[in-house]
Symmetry: C2
Subunit: 330 residues, 2 copies
């Protein structure tokens, strides 16, 4: 097999985040559930935006954040996702390239605008998301660079993509291309509501096609409809080669066959939990791509997650390679 | 005279700031002078943007920041400036309205895009600005709502507008409308490079048409081409009804006829000086509009400036009304 040109190729929704304060009443008014992510159309996004305070825009997207994390560790990463040829599309493309991620998806010249995620910050510092996918939601098989997938050690897919039929077909094509080239497929369950909507298909997908699965405790217990975490871990153990399940302040559990590693969370003053799972995945994927064992990969994940939750925004503000140098040297 | 519908109507460039890290070499490469603001065309803006790291977008514009500050103090403020009907234009309009500022300028439906200011942050935390005015630079007399100017206690104009002939004509119309209605005109010199390019016209404008002048030490000494600060203050004393000159950590000096008030700067850990002058002006204008004396107005200016330099971004993150309540009650 030839060497992988990319350590990780991430496929996901290309999204710009708009973060702004709201009062609790705004959530009620728009029927949003605190702490959750909901998809909406452009009209609803505009109505929600009108009830938000002055905002800040920064590039986001779950798998895109992971690709940025891998690059920040010094890994070679790429991203596949759809933007339009508008200002937010330019912002998304600029930011991900400036972070060192290969991003070649050409912007669409017609159709809906670049996707955005309205992040509503209530006075209790909780975040509720209302996502207008826009052009991101039109990702289809034609957008999957099968050559590139074949040259990536791991193709990482986000569960959020499963919400749109064309993206679902894109995922399946990417899986075929990766496995056809003898590469690995990683998948994240993304969100417990997303799991809830797609449970049966996700269970099948994980068992048939996923080599490395990322989930948090709520997602894995929702996937298997079993509140017994240990039972879910045992089931996951049989389903995938590597499972990585995060448990917030309780750390994470990595599973590979008979090996189970429990990794503690790093102590940190939490400012904004957005991106914690995305960056945890970045650390684990970079660690595995670099040949570290499960425990080290898990610690890289914890370190990256701790960095990203220590500030506002879902992408690292410092070089993760420099941040973890003491861990890797020690 | 009827009561003013607005305490302050600010007229300026409608700009979205794009903040991102760069290496020092990028400044050299693009011929930018550290700490300065330079206008550029769209092509140059794109070239500069390409050399910047991943960024964050937030609404800015000097006079617009001041209007937001006045609203945050609980004052009634409005803003006049030109955006296009594009995504950054929507962001600008949303943010200023969400901050409580009346903003009725209709977006242009053709022409250049909404203006943006690339804020290049070097490793020494200094900020260098490259501004593509875009549609903001097309502000002209037709965009000045003369009725609204006549109903505003103070019309506040930014010196940056003087760079474009049509905006210069807009300023002159606004001055006529304000003075014709018996209202006051406030002006900020904006930037010492801006003063340098327009010195003779600025001196004439200040002496003939400005009631309240805002400047910092570099700008006022550049205006009068005299490095003796006290001499500049004496000259300003004769030129305007009220002068307010900021001196960074040395505080500020307010002048009204024979009254000279020296206001100390508030102690603060400086994170980002962007917006310091804009928010100082907001405090002083709100203070004067509310009938406070010069010294209190100056202290409100210092408090607002201290707030805005304690975090990244040029607009307040807390309610200035709440912040200064102890000052005003005490």
């Amino acid at each position: 097999m030839t060497a992988a040109y990319l350590d990780v190729l991430a496929v996901g929704n290309a999204i710009v985040d708009v973060l702004a304060p709201v009062e609790d009443e705004a959530l009620t008014h728009h029927g949003l559930v605190k702490g959750s992510m909901r998809l909406c159309d452009e009209r609803e996004a505009e109505a929600v935006y009108r009830s938000m305070g002055p905002g800040v825009e920064m590039s986001g997207g779950s798998a895109a954040n992971t690709a940025v994390g891998v690059a920040s560790f010094g890994g070679r990463s790429g991203f596949v996702g759809k933007v339009r040829d508008d200002q937010l599309g330019s912002v998304f493309a600029h930011d991900i390239r400036a972070a060192g991620v290969a991003f070649d998806s050409p912007p669409a010249t017609s159709g809906p605008p670049t996707g955005r995620c309205l992040v509503l910050i209530t006075p209790d510092a909780q975040r509720t998301m209302s996502t207008f996918l826009g052009t991101a939601g039109l990702l289809g098989p034609d957008d999957v660079p099968v050559d590139r997938v074949a040259w990536a050690g791991v193709t990482y897919l986000e569960g959020y993509l499963w919400e749109e039929p064309s993206a679902k077909a894109a995922i399946q094509l990417a899986i075929e291309a990766a496995h056809g080239a003898g590469r690995k497929v990683a998948f994240t369950l993304s969100d417990s509501f997303c799991v809830d909507r797609n449970r049966a298909e996700f269970v099948r997908l994980v068992e048939s096609s996923v080599d490395i699965l990322f989930a948090n405790e709520a997602e894995i217990t929702s996937l298997y409809e079993d509140s017994d975490f240990e039972a879910c871990v045992r089931r996951l153990q049989r389903a995938v080669s590597i499972g990585a399940v995060t448990r917030s302040e309780k750390g994470s559990v990595l599973i590979a066959g008979d090996t189970i590693e429990e990794i503690p969370a790093e102590p940190v003053d939490v400012v904004d939990t957005t991106g914690a799972g995305d960056l945890y995945a970045a650390g684990v994927l970079f660690g595995l791509a670099s040949g570290y064992d499960l425990a080290v990969a898990g610690r890289l994940g914890s370190a990256a997650a701790a960095e990203v939750i220590s500030h506002v925004g879902a992408r690292p503000e410092v070089s993760l390679a420099e941040l973890v140098a003491p861990v890797l040297d020690g």
